[in-house]
């Protein structure tokens, strides 16, 4: 089940054509890629290779840079953690983007929305989210997401962001665990009560055991290839031609 990095199952043909030709450098295709990003946000598809091409156009033509597609691309990349996509996208942004601004603007007026906040501030905020996800600190991720209105603005365009994140986190957890304490799992998924049970049983197909006196409630994750952690013995590979000499001997005249 090899997956090439530059492959995206839902990529339309016209995008494929641009990516494979020299038009990927043509500033006029910027709008095409931007619309494609919007489409990805709406219909929950994802195409990192095409998004990198848009950031490259911005890299070459800084005057064309628009903040919204840039942050939307980064937000989309969060939904596929722990892949290297987020970092690869960061590498194409201007070098000063991650430098902490020395004198933050005095926030005397109303709280800035995503459109007024400088791009570097948004990118750094999203980087923080990415770091928390990559450190598997999921409950801190949700807490940070709720801590600032700017985050709500940033993720507003990405349809179903929270659900996508939950599914992704669940999938990571499912590959590392067989049983998780209900409390811990609720924190990781930022859900509780009926909502939690619904998500875990219907979408993940996991089981929930109610706790009783002295027994904590746990979530049971069925065995899969990754969480069974079976010890393996690497056996040597024997090829037929290793025996060619022996077999040849068998046909030769006995000496």
């Amino acid at each position: 089940m090899g997956i090439a990095f530059d492959y995206a199952p839902d990529r339309p043909e016209y995008i494929e054509a641009i990516l494979n030709g020299l038009d990927r450098y043509n500033p006029e295709t910027t709008t095409v890629f931007q619309d494609y990003v919007t489409q990805q946000c709406e219909d929950r598809t994802y195409d990192c290779y095409a998004n990198l091409a848009l950031l490259k156009l911005y890299q070459f033509n800084p005057h064309l840079t628009r903040d919204e597609p840039t942050t939307n691309i980064l937000v989309k990349a969060l939904t596929v953690f722990p892949s290297p996509d987020f970092s690869l996208l960061l590498h194409l942004l201007p070098p000063h983007i991650l430098t902490p601004t020395t004198n933050p603007p005095l926030s005397s007026g109303p709280t800035p929305s995503a459109s007024d906040a400088p791009l570097s501030e948004s990118v750094q905020k999203l980087s923080l989210l990415n770091t928390l996800l990559e450190q598997a600190n999921y409950s801190a991720f949700w807490a940070t997401l709720d801590s600032d209105d700017l985050y709500a603005d940033l993720i507003a365009d990405v349809n179903g962001f929270e659900e996508l994140m939950r599914v992704r986190i669940a999938s990571c957890v499912g590959q590392g665990c067989r049983e998780v304490e209900r409390g811990v799992c609720e924190g990781w998924l930022n859900l509780s009560g009926r909502e939690f049970e619904g998500f875990v049983t219907d979408i993940c197909g996991w089981g929930v055991d109610d706790g009783s006196e002295g027994v904590t409630a746990v979530v049971r994750i069925p065995v899969n290839k990754e969480n069974e952690a079976k010890g393996t013995v690497v056996r040597e590979e024997v090829r037929f031609d290793q025996f060619s000499r022996v077999i040849r001997r068998a046909y030769e005249q006995p000496a």
């Binding site: 070459f60 596929v80 665990c177 952690a229 022996v246």
Partner: protein, 480 residues
């Protein structure tokens, strides 16, 4: 929505993991290289006699061709750099846009590589110089001159040259038909059948790999090599510097895509090759290689720290000699290893550039691109720095209580739970097995695996079984 539709990782069967390159192939390369050296010696003589015979050609042109492949003197003035850019433009314009292919007699066999290499080097050093001036002396005369000429050494013109050379020579089509064992001349066209265009086109692909890497676009860098087959008798293997450059940038790009096993495979391949052919290298060529050589050992050290692997013996010994203490610290991980990771990365990474003219009016915005890329890389180092610690403990147990282990390590249990998940995720890596460089399967790169059942950690290990076939065959041969 199916939960398992898009898995963050899923292990492919171990048996399908590509076997590491066989020694045989390397030996064949070494043999090939030896032949090549003799072949080149012959060529040199041929060239000399040939040029004696036809020295009536335009002297000018010959001087220009030679100049295009010659490095600028160290610390050349800005005027010289501008002039050099104009010369390249004229030369490539002449080669690409004359009526029909031009008939040029190139000064040396290596000329095509040298000219592309020098062209990109000058682009790289110009961008870095411009960025530095804007950062440090934004009011100097040079800054004014750079401000007035924003299009000199522009990224679009550099890429344009490389892509035009590739298209004119139909080199990708040629390589593709060679892959299918067909005659490349069928698709080469009027230009591509000539060695001059074919070589320039070919090395432009390697040039693109390098430019994309310098700009931080690592996936596109690997994508450009789609039509070039590595490890075979590729054309680049005939020019040592090209061979070396290719593997360095491919390896580096893999490392930045967190495909450490693939990066190690690339670096090891070329380092083994260099150590075996060291004695046949002409000295001048070898000197230029030796600095990059050390850089690649540093990168291998980084990759091995991320992804413990058994290295080739030659590499292992050399690595211990060069970076023995550092390697131990890297492998131990934790916060103490961070400065070391950063030092090694900075000493061994390519000289990243920013493609557009800097902002001369706000010097603080002109951050060195190396700092930018290093910062992103260090983020990954920080996220995974506890993996070695976790692994070293888990190796000792088959089951372990999370809270107990947290007590040993003196951290909160929740933090440890995070470290365990991170290490588990990072042990799964995309690894190449066949096809293009960007292809690959997700495999478990670690011999240690575990799963959490509540607070109980179940640990399992992959053991290497006994090797019987050799023993069996040896005894059969003796008695039968």
């Amino acid at each position: 929505m199916a939960l398992y539709q898009r898995q963050p990782y899923a292990t492919a069967d171990r048996s399908k993991v590509a076997a590491d390159e066989s020694d045989e192939e390397e030996n064949a390369l070494v043999e090939d290289y030896k032949e090549q050296v003799h072949f080149d010696d012959g060529m040199d003589e041929l060239d000399r006699t040939a040029s004696f015979g036809t020295s009536g050609g335009p002297q000018d042109m010959q001087a220009q061709l030679a100049a295009a492949a010659t490095p600028l003197e160290y610390g050349a003035a800005l005027d010289t750099k501008f002039a050099s850019y104009d010369n390249y433009c004229n030369l490539f314009h002449y080669i690409l846009n004359s009526e029909g292919p031009v008939d040029l007699e190139v000064p040396t066999y290596f000329w095509a590589w040298d000219v592309i290499d020098e062209f990109i080097y000058q682009f790289e050093s110009f961008c870095r110089y411009r960025n530095r001036i804007a950062r440090q002396e934004p009011t100097s005369d040079d800054a004014q001159l750079l401000r007035d000429n924003p299009n000199t050494w522009g990224c679009y013109s550099v890429l344009n040259v490389l892509y035009s050379l590739i298209q004119r020579s139909q080199i990708n089509e040629q390589l593709d038909s060679m892959k299918r064992n067909e005659d490349p001349n069928q698709v080469a066209g009027e230009y591509g059948t000539r060695p001059l265009y074919r070589m320039l086109g070919y090395f432009s692909i390697i040039g693109l790999l390098r430019v994309h890497c310098l700009l931080g676009d690592f996936s596109l860098a690997l994508k450009t090599l789609d039509d070039i087959e590595l490890n075979k008798k590729a054309m680049f293997a005939r020019v040592m510097a090209a061979h070396f450059t290719t593997y360095y940038y491919v390896g580096f790009s893999y490392m930045m895509m967190r495909r450490y096993a693939d990066a190690i495979r690339m670096f090891s391949h070329i380092l083994v090759y260099v150590s075996r052919t060291k004695n046949f290298q002409k000295n001048a060529q070898y000197d230029s290689v030796s600095k990059k050589n050390d850089q690649m050992y540093a990168l291998i050290a980084i990759c091995v720290a991320f992804n413990p692997t058994k290295l080739d013996d030659t590499i292992h010994t050399a690595l211990r000699e060069k970076y023995g203490d550092q390697l131990l610290k890297l492998q131990r991980g934790g916060p103490e290893a961070l400065p070391l990771f950063e030092d090694l990365f900075r000493s061994a990474c390519p000289k990243f550039i920013s493609p557009t003219p800097p902002d001369f009016d706000t010097p603080e915005l002109n951050v060195d691109p190396v700092d930018h890329h290093c910062r992103i890389f260090m983020e990954e180092v920080k996220n995974t720095m506890w993996s070695p610690t976790v692994k070293s403990y888990l190796k000792l147990y088959t089951t372990m209580d999370l809270k107990k282990l947290a007590g040993f390590l003196e951290v909160e249990p929740e933090k440890l739970r995070g470290w365990l998940l991170v290490n588990k995720q990072r042990s799964r890596q995309v690894r190449w097995s066949e096809g293009a460089l960007l292809d690959g399967e997700i495999v478990n790169g670690s011999d240690l695996d575990y799963a959490l059942q509540g607070d109980l950690i179940h640990v399992s290990e992959a053991k290497v079984g006994r090797r019987l076939v050799d023993w069996y065959l040896r005894n059969l041969a003796r008695t039968y």
